[in-house]
Symmetry: C2
Subunit: 394 residues, 2 copies
């Protein structure tokens, strides 16, 4: 009596994973240096030394029983306080420890946040292009995820389409800025307009519409970009953060939900997340990682390589005639393919040992994602392959 | 629109937590050394030095990007292989890496195992006394958890009651041996009889009945106890393990599901657990902890204090006239209270600064749990208080 729902999920292949497997196999044939693998969003810079130093200090000087003892379900109190203090100091939103729930990365954060502020049968809206893992994150809660079509020219928000999809069943909206896969950052104007609509519709429907802000790329924003802290623009915001990208710790599964103190029910939501954890198998992150991260909250890995790589690729792609919105952050770029069928385009790119991800799974046709979390030297060596790919379409 | 289900859960207080809070407050009044806190099941011995040494080695010699990089959803391959090899060598069950799914502790393991082999609407049976957190673990899946009444005289299984509760809707049975709260270990005879019934009923119903074996206390078994490895007794077994107790790492959230290779669907179940993780927020445990634990799989903390404490308490309790089944493992003992109302008994115990947990939440009336994961010296100092409590009933 295996569960048929999860059996069915097994059958669905991940395009990103298939591309990554192809890259690994191709590297075995022709050498890794000859394959330009832009498929995976894995940080390419090390964790800051301060993180490693803090881990060593904890292991060498703390009592093992205190260090490895149970963390409270909501997270270690001093860690929650440190996160609240850091967010308050940086962004001016008056978080307290009680508004912080420590999670296993952003996936855990989104999974908890959604369950806290929705019920099965509700509708959640998000905006294309979007991270395809939102489908299982949301699908597992009984909430219906509906996708607002993309604003192709700038990957901000197509507000007409958004307003047309709002109904009283919509109890939450999910945003991801800086965005995977587009790299675009929502501007102050975009977020203010979004907030105004949510406030007006919330008043009309008689219930708040919560904004779930998935922001693992918050610290990867490029020079001169207008990208405000989402929660500072809208009161009913649950910020879902991960240290995976900013501290290059994706395997350590550490992040948080921060509930805007002005949100309806703000004093209950973190506690509710603790109850949700009891049902899903207690997602609370490891004690030693919580403690170490809490000492380096305001640091990041050296993230400058991502902007260097973005500029190299953006300049090359646009000079080759690709339609391309300039990323404001992340380590992704999302150009239009040179034929309408993104899958066919990415198949052809393989001839040039370029590993790209077709856009279809991100809710937008005819584009492709490049994850440029690679060495700059690799980007440089890939440019002739990009040129050859473009030339093959002339 | 806060989720009413989780709001309701917020309102339910945990008796264990209340007792623990009382102990903390009382310690502030009269000194910690004068309060005998038997409420919490928190290991009282440190992690083995070999674990700390391996953590230090990883941090000092591995590349941070490899060390802290993404773990595959099912766990790091070398870790899965090491767990399979260790179990095979120790227990003779031919596990391969594909049968192992790394989890965030036993809670994560049970939450995944249940979802893999049941569907909403199914019935799961477990046996009193039982760990009360099974209610949210199972409740969250849509499966109905039904409790088989306890076999009070020995805390083995009341098979007549069990057989009477078996119906075709029962697709899984949950056991916890060594048991929290009774400390009792299921004997070979008990497990063989259980297996025979599950096989016969599975054949009658036309579907296997999976056995989910929650065994975080597997390595805490006392001298001379007959406590076989559960999966070696029944083919359709999913073993749910945690290193929280054996390595004293409860805060680091590390465990696994091991699927018996002879179970129906054995080659699919770990992969299905990976899909389940995508819905619940990717429960996979931290990379560095996976890697460090994989090097000390066959070691434990020095667990001998638990047997010392058990013998002290068992001898004292029985000489005071308490009816008490002798524990074969864990760090719990579960005597009968000296009045029918366990809550009243534990309230009276507070007068003697004894912090005990009433049995009602464990599915058995009239008993109390003592968690003797404390210093032996504390146990010795608590004996006069136990004597005074018993005397107050004469």
């Amino acid at each position: 009596m295996l569960n048929p729902h999860y059996l069915e999920m097994l059958g669905k292949k991940s395009v990103i994973r298939e591309m990554s497997v192809w890259a690994t196999n191709r590297a075995a044939e022709i050498g890794a240096e000859n394959v330009f693998n832009y498929s995976l969003g894995n940080p390419s810079v090390p964790a800051p030394q301060a993180f490693t130093d803090e881990m060593l200090r904890l292991l060498q000087s703390e009592s093992p029983m205190a260090l490895h003892g149970y963390s409270p379900t909501l997270g270690i109190q001093s860690v929650r306080q440190a996160v609240a203090d850091s967010l308050k100091a940086r962004f001016g939103v008056p978080y307290e420890a009680k508004h912080i729930f420590m999670t296993s990365g952003a996936a855990g954060a989104v999974a908890h946040a959604v369950r806290a502020v929705t019920q099965p049968g509700d509708v959640m809206l998000t905006f294309a292009p979007y991270f395809p893992e939102y489908n299982p994150y949301i699908g597992g809660t009984g909430v219906e995820l509906q996708i607002v079509p993309a604003s192709i020219e700038d990957f901000q928000i197509q507000f007409d389409a958004f307003e047309a999809m709002l109904t009283p069943k919509v109890t939450s909206v999910l945003v991801n800025t800086p965005n995977n896969p587009s790299g675009v950052v929502y501007t102050t104007a975009t977020l203010q307009k979004l907030a105004a609509i949510l406030r007006a519709k919330g008043a009309e429907y008689g219930h708040p519409i919560y904004l779930i802000s998935d922001e693992p790329y918050r610290e990867i924003q490029f020079a001169g970009v207008d990208g405000p802290f989402v929660a500072s623009q809208y009161e009913h915001t649950l910020t879902c953060y991960s240290f995976s990208k900013s501290l290059s710790l994706p395997g350590e599964r550490i992040g948080y939900v921060a509930v805007n103190p002005a949100a309806e029910g703000a004093d209950l939501i973190a506690d509710m997340c603790g109850q949700i954890s009891r049902e899903t198998g207690h997602n609370c992150p490891p004690s030693i990682i919580q403690l170490a991260v809490s000492k380096v909250l305001d640091q990041t890995s050296d993230l400058s390589v991502y902007e260097t790589n973005m500029n190299l690729l953006y300049n090359e792609l646009t000079s080759l005639g690709f339609r391309c919105v300039k990323p404001g952050g992340t380590f992704y770029i999302f150009p239009q393919a040179l034929e309408p069928d993104a899958v066919a385009f990415c198949e052809r790119a393989k001839q040039f040992n370029l590993v790209l991800v077709p856009s279809n799974n991100f809710g937008v046709p005819g584009h492709f994602r490049m994850a440029y979390c690679v060495d700059t030297e690799t980007v440089e060596r890939s440019l002739p392959a990009l040129r050859a790919l473009a030339a093959s379409y002339r």
